[in-house]
């Protein structure tokens, strides 16, 4: 048992358990809290994968910005005390569960049959090098400069859209 496997098992357990808790809690605020915990576990996994930049951005963007926005909206709308959390139609619930479990088993089966780790062998130094801010920054501002600018425009459009939607009084 090496240290990487132990860390992976701990973080993966947190991620899996919190993701289930997100969809089974009746209180939206508690769901949001578990989603934040899930994002932290993911940030830890990214560190384990030598992706330090993505790991910090995960915390800044998801935990620090997006989830605060969610909490803010939940608190403003005060929708707590949902009497029945799941859909009224029971057959939808069971059907969804059945489909999900079936798809998960299918995907796991394919992964284990195909065993991608035989074709993908981790190269330690290349992996560390690809996750640094220097590498990602260089790529973003040279090869991916046009998508980067487009992403900026997307954010601007989203900001304007959100302001207009939130301000407009619907009749």
């Amino acid at each position: 048992m090496n240290i990487e496997l132990i860390l992976f098992i701990i973080l993966a357990t947190i991620a899996a358990v919190t993701s289930i808790l997100v969809i089974t809690r009746s209180n939206a605020v508690i769901s949001a809290v578990f989603l934040v915990l899930n994002f932290f576990a993911l940030a830890g996994l990214y560190l384990l994968l030598n992706a330090q930049f993505i790991s910090v951005v995960q915390i800044i963007v998801y935990a620090g910005a997006i989830m605060v926005l969610f909490l803010f909206v939940i608190m403003l709308l005060r929708t707590d005390g949902e009497p029945r959390i799941f859909s009224d139609k029971r057959y939808i619930k069971y059907f969804a569960l059945l489909i999900s479990i079936f798809v998960f088993i299918q995907v796991s089966y394919l992964l284990l049959i195909g065993s991608p780790s035989k074709s993908v062998t981790g190269n330690q130094s290349a992996s560390i090098n690809s996750g640094t801010i220097e590498t990602i920054g260089k790529e973003l501002y040279t090869n991916y400069i046009i998508p980067f600018e487009v992403a900026g425009f997307l954010l601007l459009a989203a900001t304007i859209g959100a302001i207009i939607l939130a301000k407009k009084k619907f009749e």
């Binding site: 496997l5 992976f8 991620a15 993701s19 997100v22 969809i23 939206a28 769901s31 989603l35 899930n38 996994l45 384990l48 994968l49 030598n50 992706a51 993505i54 951005v57 963007v61 998801y62 997006i66 926005l69 969610f70 909206v73 939940i74 709308l77 929708t79 959390i85 799941f86 939808i92 619930k93 969804a96 569960l97 489909i99 999900s100 798809v103 998960f104 995907v107 796991s108 992964l111 065993s115 991608p116 780790s117 993908v120 981790g122 190269n123 330690q124 290349a126 992996s127 996750g131 990602i136 790529e139 997307l154 954010l155 459009a157 859209g161 959100a162 302001i163 939607l165 939130a166 619907f170």
Partner: protein
């Protein structure tokens, strides 16, 4: 590091994605449905980062960066829509938001 097989990450990613799908299908609170979509996006991000790291190629992580940008934009607009709907119907229950069907 990178001593464990990549399947572990991929199966965890698949599991989180499936949980997200289940959440979208069975939950009624629009905000929680939204959170489940974030969960699915993150599951996809995890497999992208895993592949990027095991291949030693930064492109996967750059894609994750763009996914995060889109997720942020989506969250702002989506939450604004939810606020607008709440103002109109005084509920965020997706089963009751059905003015387009009769």
């Amino acid at each position: 590091m990178l001593s464990i097989p990549i399947e572990y990450y991929l199966i965890l990613s698949a599991f989180m994605f499936i949980v997200g799908v289940t959440g979208v299908l069975i939950r009624r609170n629009a905000i929680v449905v939204f959170m489940c979509i974030e969960l699915m996006l993150n599951a996809a991000n995890l497999s992208l980062v895993a592949f990027s790291s095991y291949h030693g190629n930064p492109v996967g992580q750059i894609f994750v960066f763009f996914v995060m940008t889109v997720a942020a934009a989506e969250a702002t607009v989506g939450l604004a829509i939810i606020i607008a709907i709440f103002r109109n119907k005084l509920t965020v229950n997706v089963d009751e938001i059905n003015i387009f069907k009769w």
